[in-house]
Symmetry: C2
Subunit: 435 residues, 2 copies
């Protein structure tokens, strides 16, 4: 039967577009809006005229404001009907805020405390008001600054294992999974954009593509002529399109993580979709490797960043090991849907299936990580890890090494024995000159 | 954005259940219903009192009537709110008729003339009135009778290539595929039933399971204790659950095919869903192999059926070769979505991707075929190919050989070099005694 969720989904979709009440917020309009929300007004304290509103938009997509009053502060995120950093020439569905809200609710249940607390959701205004995280900073910024986050690997590895397991067929019944999938229906615009900017755009003559020129001109030309590489990109796109392994965050780069010494929070889940587990793992690893290869560009006379590079590789390996250990535990503890005890008396059976799944997830992960590294160096959207390197020839050197490793990660993704082989590959590529 | 189709889907779902106008048809009630449908009344001719209504229900699920008048005849198929051969103790959603109707419309566009023409669709009564196929018979019955259908392989191979290609990511855009998938949402009850009766039920102590006893008692006990086999069944279930490769028929056994010397029609598509291409191919091959192993049970003094067995294997191989050839052609001609010429100047690139896809599809196909063979011999639902063999010891001999081959098909599915290796395996298993 048609799951009830879907009727709801249809309704809330109409609501999200029907209203016409949508208008873009500004620091001038926000106090009036927040004043109508007692819980938030109380949290800020004082009088709306006392509130300080600052726009702190950071990502590519949305408007973000920090609102602070005498007693406290909140973050207000509003989706724009187009991609913020590109403008109205690239319209984009407001409804993405619904997928972000759905995911924040699901994550709050599966990994309590790993996401910002939602204080208010308004589908018509495409607004989510949430907890203001402090003293957190965006992980990517921390990596550029060379800061160590001792709990990061444990938090992320566990977040990945729990959110991917509990939304997958390893745990959910067919009915339960179908009904959860239905709540993410209508996200094809976001799916199509992801597939375009990662798997096609970087290899085609797309006007918004850019790269460190002239240093990387030859490398870019070679990649556009590299059929083996483009075939790997197409195979990976097909995996993303045809796999409904789990509910994935869909954009889990180091800009979607807010961190402090003691805490890690996952934000910006509007790209959530059903897809292969390796897509989320690959986003994390690809961006950690971008940070790794960018470090020489941030070296100073008193810190050559080489030990920090080792921390980055150790973190990547520890994330995988935490994910693997916890996934095995979850399958044994909660895998009864796929491994009913009536069928499998011995847990060893579940273990052998999970071994072959982990093998496949690792290959996907390495391939997706490579694709994400390449697209951030020669595609539309770049990363501060590299962009903040002032000297273009130094930056190009870092980028060229990352591109070389990323290429082999995509083409050879099935050949990496384990996560340590990936770390070793990055380490050996980081020495010497790439161009 | 929420595709418009989905709003429609929600609406028609409500319609299909809201009405309460549903009532079970009988030969007594049908003339009044058909009389209200001018096109059909005209097609039958004469007066409703002249019409002959015969119930011809054959499958497990639905009521089927043949209505004939002076000028012509039609078939009326009505879904029951439970599984017909089991009864009200196993309720089953009437909405499945909507999935059948959706699929019939899609097939009519993609493979004109390969499905019965739909004359009337009534979601409230869960009825489809369709062309009465004559002189067609159910393929399974033809195979029991040892009849040759010279065009069958070409028709089925082409049907599979076209319906699977044009509903897959090899052809559709992300948006187009997502919107087509949305039309099959709400089918989780059918999906869950398929997964239960094929991948779990046969290996568990399910009360409705049956087999030729006592002859197969030991074989059944061995299979229920066979962890390697149950692991393969679980892996295959996971492939079915997580792959959205294409819109599959979902129940393409030889009872879902109506054939004549010159024609082949596909019926009973109510199980349609997005899933792996190999599931439809596997259904065809598994049932052809059941027919193959059943032939000694139908041998007579003047026809030992050995040459007919060779025709069955030749047909299986020709279906695969037709599927493979046509799929390659379709990718080259219409694969621009996945292989934009801006990226792939040489068709050789598309060829190498399709080679790896075909390799994976063949493994899935062989695994699913094996699972379907086993479930038809030791599970809830059996096939006339075997059931019509009177002598239980002869029948058990045929079934035991089929079980042995099916087991290796599931466990060794990645090891079969090509479709001919599968035929060779069946041929060698058919000699000697299995029990």
């Amino acid at each position: 039967m048609m799951p009830f969720d879907t009727a709801e989904t249809c309704a809330s979709a109409r609501q999200a577009f029907g209203g016409g009440a949508y208008h873009r917020q500004t620091p001038a309009t926000l106090p009036d809006l927040l004043a109508t929300l007692p819980e938030i007004a109380g949290h800020l304290g004082g009088d709306p005229s006392d509130w300080l509103i600052a726009e702190i938009s950071d990502g590519n997509m949305n408007l973000v404001f920090a609102a602070s009053g005498p007693n406290g502060s909140v973050v207000v995120k509003q989706a724009l009907p187009y991609i913020r950093v590109i403008g109205e020439s690239w319209p984009f569905p407001l409804e993405r805020v619904r997928f972000e809200h759905e995911t924040l609710q699901i994550y709050a249940r599966l990994v309590p405390g790993r996401t910002p607390r939602v204080l208010h959701y308004d589908p018509e205004l495409a607004i989510i008001v949430m907890e203001h995280l402090t003293p957190h900073l965006v992980l990517r910024q921390g990596l550029v600054e060379g800061r160590v986050f001792p709990l990061l690997a444990d938090h992320i590895g566990s977040f990945l294992a729990r959110t991917l397991f509990f939304t997958s067929d390893l745990f959910l019944s067919t009915r339960g999974k179908r009904q959860l999938m239905a709540r993410f229906e209508g996200n094809e615009e976001l799916c199509a954009t992801t597939e375009e900017v990662i798997f096609r755009g970087p290899y085609a003559a797309v006007s918004l593509n850019r790269w460190t020129t002239p240093h990387l001109d030859a490398a870019v030309a070679a990649m556009r002529a590299d059929h083996e590489l483009k075939l790997a990109a197409t195979e990976l796109k097909l995996v993303l399109r045809t796999s409904t392994e789990a509910l994935i965050h869909g954009d889990l780069h180091t800009g979607s993580l807010m961190v402090s010494e003691a805490d890690t929070r996952i934000i910006d889940s509007e790209w959530a979709r059903y897809g292969p587990m390796g897509f989320d793992l690959g986003a994390v690893f690809g961006n950690l490797l971008l940070a790794y290869f960018s470090q020489p560009g941030h070296a100073t006379s008193y810190n050559d960043r080489t030990s920090y590079q080792e921390w980055l590789l150790a973190t990547m390996q520890e994330i995988w090991e935490t994910f693997e250990t916890e996934l095995r535990y979850l399958v044994m503890e909660h895998g009864g849907e796929l491994f009913p005890s009536a069928l499998f008396e011995q847990p060893s059976m579940a273990a052998s299936l999970i071994n072959s799944r982990l093998r496949a997830i690792l290959s996907d992960t390495i391939g997706f990580a490579g694709a994400k590294m390449i697209r951030r160096i020669i595609g539309i959207s770049h990363v501060e890890d590299m962009e903040t390197i002032r000297d273009p020839s130094v930056r190009a050197q870092c980028e060229a090494k990352a591109l070389a490793v990323a290429r082999s990660m995509m083409i050879q993704r099935h050949a990496y024995r384990d996560i340590h082989a990936l770390a070793a590959g990055a380490r050996s590529a980081s020495t010497g000159n790439a161009i």
